[in-house]
């Protein structure tokens, strides 16, 4: 287990470094960062001064090393726009995004896993088809459109839920549903497929032969084995969700990291964009790493011996 964890950790570090290099190089794709910082009324000499001040005249790798060592200490430089440390800005916004991500993935799991189980229990039944229909819909529904439709229905027509903001739990209902619905189909399908596979396994028959109830067979014996890949998928989806919360946050005016990312892109605030890309990537990397560990833990064949 330890060796396994260390090996994965090595890969994690390597991937993180590569991602950091890629996100840093964005800065240099974008033309002259000095001119972007200088703002609206800067003269050529101002821009030159900024170039030296920020060290944009140094070689690429030197700047990257500098940025990376800062990033390791949690220092991502200053936002061009807010003139505040990027880390403060992001720390401030991240909680909303994390909350949204956790709510979204919980919603997805809480709906998709039971649906997948029930669908697998009665393949081709009405409920299976309904679940499949839901998941096919979810895959095809553009999430921004779904969000708008929810606002029209629940905020405007019915006036049940606030359309924007993050002041109360009601604010998170629609974003959670939109974000979660996006992750639901994959989780449901995987649960269903895993359950179907597991339900054909001999040990399920063994459990039935012991006189275990259907529920016990499903949830204790089958799901426990079928859930292993679902955990990995949920981790992956969680990573995607945080990165994909841009759309949802912008629709529901949630001031999270995704919205900050979008605005920062629009404002050409590259230090913030770089940091966010790196942080979202790190989340993905951490989640998948944790899910690998969780998998190992869930599967005694990896955990023991």
């Amino acid at each position: 287990m330890l060796v396994f964890a260390l090996k994965r950790l090595g890969l994690v570090v390597l991937v993180t470094l590569t991602v950091s290099l890629l996100s840093f190089s964005l800065l240099f794709m974008s033309g002259d960062p000095a001119s972007a910082i200088a703002g609206e009324n800067a003269s050529a000499s101002d821009i030159e001064a900024i170039r030296t001040l920020y060290g944009f005249d140094r070689p690429f790798l030197v700047q990257y090393g500098d940025w990376l060592s800062g990033a390791l200490r949690g220092d991502f430089g200053q936002s061009y726009y807010f003139k505040l440390p990027v880390s403060t800005l992001i720390a401030d916004r991240l909680s909303v995004t994390m909350l949204l991500g956790v709510c979204g993935i919980s919603f997805a799991l809480l709906t998709a896993v039971p649906l997948g189980v029930v669908a697998a229990m009665r393949p081709n039944s009405f409920i299976d088809r309904a679940a499949l229909f839901l998941s096919v819909m979810g895959q095809a529904m553009p999430s921004f459109w779904f969000g708008l439709v929810l606002i029209v229905i629940f905020s405007i027509q019915l006036n049940w839920l606030p359309p924007s903001g993050s002041s109360g739990w009601q604010n998170f209902i629609m974003p959670t549903v939109v974000l979660g619905y996006y992750a639901m189909p994959a989780i449901m399908r995987l649960t269903r497929a895993g359950m179907l596979e597991v339900l054909g396994a001999d040990y399920i028959r063994t459990a039935r032969a012991k006189g275990a109830s259907e529920m016990r067979v499903m949830f204790k014996h089958a799901l426990r084995n079928a859930i292993v890949p679902v955990v990995s998928l949920a981790a992956v989806q969680m990573g995607f969700m945080l990165g994909g919360s841009i759309v949802v946050e912008s629709i529901f005016a949630l001031h999270g990291a995704g919205y900050l990312a979008w605005e920062s892109i629009a404002r050409n605030d590259l230090p913030t964009v770089q940091a966010l890309i790196l942080i979202f990537s790190c989340f993905y990397i951490i989640f998948t790493f944790l899910s690998d560990l969780a998998n190992a833990w869930l599967d005694p064949r990896i955990r023991v011996g």
């Binding site: 972007a36 003139k83 708008l148 606030p162 903001g165 404002r267 050409n268």
Partner: protein, 493 residues
């Protein structure tokens, strides 16, 4: 967490004496010298005071933190200050505050974002506790306009201690509202300042102003419908019409100083073979676009088509200039005359109002000009323009609400990085007008410049913008043409 549903009971807001408004843009800093957004101007006028106040109703300057002023010479203004004014933190207002603020912002090293707002000032000197002098770098006729506008006075002791960053997080001023809390970019809560002085702005009547940043107009509207907001502005005309039709809100339209125009690269900075270097082509483009139709159908409200390269109310904005009416046949003839009987292809850059830009694309297409829309962020487009890479771009300019032609025409025709005409004659006239304190001389020279700009069709002046203010029926508010929302003038009815 708030558990109360934001139901439709707008009554709650009047009852709780809280006006809920929305910003569209995330404000980078509340410190008015370190942001360049309209939202910043609104907060600036709410939290701080300038030495002078421009009465929007009469168009006259009134004393605000100063009670009287006079030009001592061409470059020196002397102010008598109002006594008994205190800042929100209790600090007393006197000449030291003015001197500190002016000297701080006028020093380019301190990096005030919009340098043109402050770089005309050389320094301020204290005469006595309530008398102060501001020295300009040269004759600057628009000085009062700026002192009534973007230059507001900060508390010297506090500002010296916390700097722009601290001021951005915990702003302190003398204005009608003091800041209760700031979540940078997201949320601002203002409280009525009970110790406000008897200046011309008048005391605020609404107890609390709660401003959230909601970037999407639709979300703002949805909040308005569900009672989460009381007051929004900048609502596009289509939505405003529909809102008015519901009868649930006050919808008021007011013109703004913002002018839209097409900037044509007459100087050939983007390439001398560029079609718009030819006068006939520029005139053809002027004739090709049905500005009246765009105003009538898209902008609506109090918008008007403009012919001169400025807003009509601005000092020096000559109205008697060449006007190009919508005449696609003439446009085609002009194009043929210029050697483009089959038209040509060109990039049209834009950064806002995509629908207007799209409408213009279609008009240009009708006379044979294939324009490709390149829609960029403002800063990105500005970089391109400064590098002279754009041959045609759709721009707009709000003159920082400064009611003087120097804030627009002089900005773009004095061979700066954003000057695509590079006309020496125009520059000379503008230079003369900008530095004279004789109104007659200024008017004459601005007029000459504006006429030549129109004759040469350096720009395609399009239209003036308008803004729709939509607010709860419980609120009373009269918008002004300077696009500054003055919460201290809003009241419950």
């Amino acid at each position: 967490m708030a558990v109360m549903m934001t139901g439709g009971e707008a009554m709650a807001d009047k009852a709780s004496d809280t006006l809920k408004a929305a910003f569209t843009k995330e404000l980078e800093s509340v410190d008015s010298y370190f942001n360049s957004a309209r939202e910043g101007v609104i907060l600036q006028r709410t939290i701080w005071d300038g030495l002078i106040y421009l009465n929007q109703a009469t168009g006259k300057y009134e004393g605000n933190l100063a009670t009287s002023w006079k030009w001592v010479d061409d470059t020196t203004l002397e102010f008598k200050l109002r006594e008994g004014v205190t800042f929100h933190n209790g600090e007393e207002f006197d000449a030291d505050d003015v001197v500190f603020t002016v000297n701080f912002v006028a020093d380019p090293a301190n990096g005030v974002v919009t340098q043109r707002n402050v770089n005309w000032m050389k320094e301020a000197t204290k005469v006595d506790k309530y008398t102060v002098r501001i020295v300009t770098k040269g004759p600057f006729p628009a000085a009062l306009e700026y002192l009534a506008g973007p230059v507001s006075i900060y508390p010297n002791e506090y500002y010296a201690e916390v700097g722009p960053k601290g001021m951005g997080l915990k702003p302190v001023g003398t204005g009608p509202y003091q800041v209760e809390s700031v979540e940078p970019g997201k949320h601002f809560v203002l409280k009525k300042f009970d110790g406000y002085h008897d200046g011309p702005k008048g005391k605020a009547t609404i107890g609390t102003v709660d401003i959230r940043t909601i970037p999407d107009v639709n979300t703002q509207l949805a909040e308005l419908f569900s009672g989460g907001l009381d007051f929004i502005w900048g609502v596009p005309s289509d939505q405003a019409e529909k809102l008015a039709a519901t009868g649930r809100f006050n919808v008021v339209n007011e013109s703004t100083m913002r002018v839209g125009y097409l900037e044509l690269d007459a100087a050939g900075r983007s390439g001398t073979d560029n079609p718009v270097t030819k006068l006939a082509v520029r005139q053809a483009i002027n004739h090709a676009i049905d500005r009246q139709a765009i105003v009538d159908n898209l902008l609506k409200g109090k918008s008007k088509i403009v012919n001169a390269a400025c807003f009509s109310s601005q000092f020096g904005c000559e109205q008697d200039v060449a006007a190009y009416d919508y005449d696609p046949e003439k446009a085609k003839a002009l194009l043929a005359e210029a050697g483009y009987p089959d038209g040509f292809a060109i990039d049209l850059y834009a950064y806002r109002d995509r629908a207007y830009a799209e409408a213009m694309l279609a008009y240009l297409a009708e006379v044979g000009i294939t324009a490709n829309l390149k829609y960029l962020q403002y800063s990105a487009l500005r970089d391109l323009r400064r590098n002279g890479e754009t041959s045609m771009s759709f721009q707009s300019w709000g003159s920082y609400s400064v009611n003087d032609v120097s804030a627009i025409t002089s900005e773009f025709f004095k061979h700066g990085a954003e000057d695509f005409a590079r006309d020496d004659e125009v520059k000379a006239w503008l230079d003369t007008a900008d530095t004279s304190i004789d109104p007659a001389v200024r008017e004459e020279n601005y007029s000459k410049a504006l006429r030549k700009i129109a004759d040469q069709a350096y720009w395609v002046p399009l239209f003036s913008y308008n803004s729709n203010y939509v607010f709860s029926k419980e609120l009373e508010y009269t918008p002004t043409s300077d696009e500054v929302v003055r919460f201290f003038h809003a009241r419950w009815n």
